[in-house]
């Protein structure tokens, strides 16, 4: 799958090998491009200057949308509201008292007299947008599926406020008299800042966590991601960047009204982001360039031949083509340099990078007692208990519907137990969230593999390393070591969704290990594997246990695997523990036979 190809030769593999070098390459490349536009644009006549300044202003807003919507996967309709808040703030604070006296006579006296230099007013605009972002973010962070709808509400509320705050905004009437400060170089400078912020955020701790939650919220929480908090931070940062657009917008024409910051602008910006590909900064840049180029060229052709609907028709064709050919946008979820990095050399590790295994005395790392859970009267778990010791594998078996998955969900906090006492080493777990339990040392895999499919294999593991408190740089190193440990190091730069089933399982285990867990909960890790693969996996488990110095709770149907792997075994039936102890002894009990297979024979593999 790797080798030389035309796509990657522009960027040498050695240069794209590390996250930082990729980030620098990308940022410098785009920044130089925008700076050139800024320099060249300054010498053009007024119309192309306006076109470029407007395009760059839009780019700032689309980058803001990319920071939140692109990384979190939640489409926001609210950002144009922040643009409006910032534009009005910048306008009010930068206008001269004379102009304010004429056009904003009802403005409070204290504001009447203020006339800040334009750049200072722009910063105030960004601050105002950020503050509104903080307030609205408190709501948005708590939502997931309905967050998009809520963002429409935020746009409507901000629009209503701008219309209603007549003393400050002149209501629905045109707000005018703002200095036309936004030249091409000014817009280019702000766009470069927005670009750096967006690109750096993407690979930051929070950025990686938000992207993980975009792909799978439950699996992100189980990897220690504070989904709400990460979403909140992304929202506030993107509101600030949208404020940058507003500050530029104020000085672009010097006149605007609330209707300019409503659905039309929202849809224009979303179109740009969706066409370019919301998941990457390159997508935002390409989306703006392409859509603006199409609008401008088709408009000129339309004007010259008197066919005025051409622009809209062209835009419609572009959107339809994109949705048909590339549903994730032209760039999809990946930066070009990430795709190039995948084509580069697979990472290798020196022996020193490999952590040494430590085996300490066996002790109880997880004890769960009195676990009861009812679903509307149906008893799913009834006073169940389970124990895991360091360095040992505890098995959990039971027929379908016996409560195994409910037990794992209650232990990890995905489902709230009615009553339970959980001790995780010295810690007693009460109402802790899933992410807190993960950070406290509960690593897990899922029955149906839940990787972050649009993240690289490496980033899947890095997400959890970050949760364990590592910096991104050290997380990269640790993640590579873990991938090496489970035998998928050569896939580090591939996208997780593309791996074979068995390799995806291994990545999931590496991700769980990245939390430096004291207990690993593996939910049917051998499902879908042939006997040879299961045996290899078992050998790996032993090795992993040794290195991680953890205990393991293994849930599986594969009795051969359970028998050879486990040091102790618990059998669940109808939510009750019917047997617990040495696997050989437990498996020979008649009640286990009866429960597991429905008759008195020993359980076998062919169920």
């Amino acid at each position: 799958m790797r080798g030389s190809d035309a796509g990657m030769q522009l960027i040498p593999a050695s240069f794209v090998a590390t996250r930082n070098s990729r980030k620098y390459t990308s940022t410098i490349f785009w920044a130089i491009g925008i700076a050139l536009i800024g320099l060249v644009g300054n010498g053009l006549s007024q119309a192309p200057q306006l076109l470029l300044a407007n395009s760059l202003t839009l780019l700032i807003g689309v980058l803001a949308l990319q920071i939140f919507s692109g990384n979190s996967g939640i489409l926001s309709f609210g950002h144009v509201g922040f643009v409006g808040v910032s534009a009005y703030t910048t306008g009010i604070l930068s206008m001269t008292p004379e102009i304010k006296n004429a056009s904003l006579s009802s403005l409070p006296v204290s504001l009447q007299e203020i006339s800040l230099p334009f750049p200072v007013a722009m910063i105030c605009g960004v601050v105002a947008a950020t503050l509104v972002g903080v307030l609205s973010g408190l709501v948005i962070a708590r939502l997931r599926d309905s967050a998009s709808i809520a963002s429409v509400g935020i746009l409507i509320i901000i629009h209503g406020t701008l219309v209603g705050a007549e003393d400050f905004t002149r209501g629905s009437q045109t707000f005018f008299g703002v200095e036309r400060f936004t030249s091409v170089p000014v817009a280019a400078s702000v766009a470069i800042i927005a670009l750096i912020v967006a690109r750096w955020f993407r690979d930051s701790r929070v950025g990686l966590h938000v992207r993980a939650s975009r792909d799978d919220v439950i699996s992100a929480s189980s990897s220690g991601v504070r989904v709400q908090q990460s979403q909140f931070k992304a929202w506030v940062l993107s509101a600030a960047v949208a404020g940058g657009m507003g500050a530029c917008y104020a000085g672009l024409l010097g006149a605007f009204s609330p209707k300019d910051f409503y659905f039309t602008l929202t849809l224009t910006m979303l179109t740009m982001l969706i066409v370019g590909g919301s998941g990457s900064v390159a997508g935002a840049v390409i989306g703006v360039a392409l859509v603006m180029a199409v609008i401008e060229n088709l408009r000129k052709i339309g004007d010259s031949i008197g066919l005025f609907g051409l622009t809209n028709a062209g835009l419609a064709v572009i959107i339809l083509l994109t949705l048909y050919l590339r549903p994730k946008g032209i760039m999809g979820f990946h930066e070009p340099e990430e795709i190039a990095a995948f084509g580069g050399e697979a990472p290798t590790l020196t022996e020193q990078d490999l952590p040494d295994g430590i085996v300490s005395a066996s002790e109880e790392v997880l004890s769960v007692t009195g676990l009861t859970k009812k679903f509307s009267g149906l008893v799913a778990l009834d006073d169940a208990k389970i124990f895991v010791q360091r360095g040992k594998i505890s098995g959990l078996i039971g027929p379908n519907g016996s409560g195994k998955s409910t037990m794992v969900n209650c232990i990890t906090g995905v489902t709230k137990a009615d009553s339970v006492v959980i001790n995780l080493g010295p810690l007693q777990i009460h109402k802790e969230h899933t992410w807190q339990r993960a950070r406290a040392g509960l690593g897990r895999t899922f029955q149906n593999i839940r990787l972050f499919r649009n993240l690289t294999v490496l980033d899947n593991v890095v997400v959890a390393c970050i949760s364990a408190g590592e910096s991104v740089k050290s997380a990269d190193k640790s993640a590579l070591a873990l991938l090496n440990q489970v035998g998928v190091l050569h896939h580090a730069y591939r996208f997780a969704g593309e791996l074979s089933f068995g390799d995806q399982r291994r990545v999931e285990i590496a991700r769980a290990l990245a939390l430096r867990p004291s207990v690993l909960l593996l939910d049917e890790p051998a499902a879908g594997m042939n006997p040879a693969e299961s045996a290899a996996l078992l050998a790996q488990f032993r090795e992993i246990m040794k290195r991680a110095n953890a205990g393991m709770l293994l849930i599986d149907h594969d009795v051969t695997l359970i028998r050879s792997a486990c040091d102790s075994l618990t059998v669940l039936d109808h939510g009750k523990v019917i047997a617990q102890g040495n696997p050989e002894q437990v498996l020979s009990l008649p009640e286990v036979h009866a429960a597991y297979l429905g008759w008195g024979d020993e359980p076998s593999n062919d169920d």
């Binding site: 799958m1 006549s45 007024q46 119309a47 395009s55 629905s172 006149a255 180029a293 199409v294 060229n297």
Partner: protein, 410 residues
């Protein structure tokens, strides 16, 4: 492998294409700039071409007004050029660029048109794009005229080179207030909406003019454009003491029909005054409910008299009857330009501006049109129409003295 490098290649290609297209877009703008040189105008009285730049919304939210205006204007230009131009020597060249009803695009196309050395710029029938584009024209010393933006603030916001072909909302309100006073109404209720400059300011101007006439505004309500029910507002009107004998509102579709149905449904019989926004078949279709509703409009679109000739010419050019009065006011903007150029005897932007600002009594289709003393707004006849038996019935046309009109408010 190929599958992986695909996106990179595609994105590079697209990125490259986009840059080339953007550069193309910019460079043609640059070449526009070069042509400014041509604008060396001939001496006054000599034949020349009047370059008219139109930065209107041929598509988008303002097309409903901008497109029929352009149709009327182009009919006029065709007729003038067929006769050898204004005064037989000043031919018209119309350059149309679509602003897509977008404020930024309006400014961009206005800049392109100005770079082409136009003598006059025409902008959308709305204040925002007119102010944005007008400010650029102002800086170049070129006259900018809005197709029909009725907020009387264009000169205050953008400068003395910016005008509007429309009567101001303040003047329209004055006509309604005078009518109310003449009808002997004492107590008025006004219903506006903060959602647009038009719906917000008209009731304010009406109230001011009505009280100056000696009437009293006993209540002022507010609605949200597109709101589902007016029952609360109607209850509020019902509870007023003294009860209003006239209700004035600039609401239009879909708010006006909803409001008047609720009003009449509640048994309130006070007279209702509306503005040019309700001059539509929808209002006539309200039948009995709208009976007696009186409103202002630039003119009555009827295939008779002077307008009958316009109907014939329009039909000959476009193969259909004009559907809105905006086709007529577009043609009238042409007639205004004709009067201006006749007076200026020049295609020079500055000469045109001076003549425009001082224009008095140009003959339009709906009546005479002046600009002198109008603060940028056209001083033109305003028709007052009453709905009788589901038909428009002309009460008369009015042109209030600018001195008595409420002052435009920023």
């Amino acid at each position: 492998m190929n599958r992986k490098t695909g996106p990179l290649k595609v994105s590079k290609t697209i990125a490259g294409l986009s840059v080339i297209m953007l550069l193309a877009a910019c460079s043609s703008g640059a070449s526009d700039a070069g042509s400014t040189e041509e604008a060396a105008a001939p001496a006054a009285g000599e034949a020349c071409i009047v370059k008219v730049g139109v930065a209107g919304g041929q598509t988008g939210g303002l097309a409903y007004a901008d497109v029929p205006h352009l149709e009327g204007f182009e009919l006029w230009a065709e007729q003038v050029n067929a006769n050898g131009g204004i005064d037989g020597k000043f031919t018209i060249e119309t350059i149309v660029k679509d602003s897509r009803s977008d404020i930024t695009q309006s400014a961009t196309v206005a800049a392109e048109l100005l770079a082409q050395g136009i003598s006059i710029l025409i902008t959308s029938a709305d204040a925002d794009p007119t102010i944005a584009a007008g400010a650029l024209a102002q800086a170049e010393g070129v006259t900018a005229v809005s197709w029909f933006g009725s907020a009387p603030i264009v000169q205050l916001a953008a400068g003395d080179h910016v005008f509007s072909n429309a009567f101001g909302d303040n003047t329209q309100a004055k006509v309604l207030a005078d009518h109310a006073t003449e009808m002997g109404y004492q107590n008025a209720y006004t219903l506006g909406s903060p959602d647009s400059s038009y719906t917000k300011m008209l009731p304010v101007y009406f109230g001011e003019a009505f009280e100056a006439n000696g009437g009293k505004v006993v209540g002022a309500g507010s609605f949200s454009m597109g709101q589902a029910s007016f029952s609360v507002i109607v209850d509020e009107i019902k509870a007023l003491s003294p009860a209003p004998d006239v209700i004035m509102t600039p609401a239009y579709e879909p708010d006006f029909p909803t409001f008047i149905k609720a009003l009449r449904g509640a048994g309130i019989t006070a007279a209702v005054l509306g503005t040019d926004g309700i001059d539509s078949p929808t209002t006539l279709a309200l039948a009995d409910i709208a009976e007696g509703v009186t409103y202002t409009t630039p003119g009555v679109l009827k295939n008779e008299g002077v307008m009958g000739t316009f109907f014939t010419d329009y039909n000959a050019k476009y193969g259909k009857d004009p559907e809105t009065i905006y086709a007529v006011t577009g043609y009238e903007l042409g007639l205004t330009l004709e009067a201006v150029v006749t007076q200026a005897q020049s295609c020079d932007a500055d000469a045109i501006w001076k003549a425009w600002a001082n224009l008095e009594g140009a003959q339009g289709i709906t009546g005479k049109i002046s600009y002198k003393g109008g603060d940028g707004m056209a001083i033109r006849e305003i028709a007052l129409i009453e709905i009788k038996n589901s038909e428009r019935s002309l009460i008369g046309t009015f042109s209030p003295d600018p001195a008595t009109v409420p002052k435009a408010q920023l």
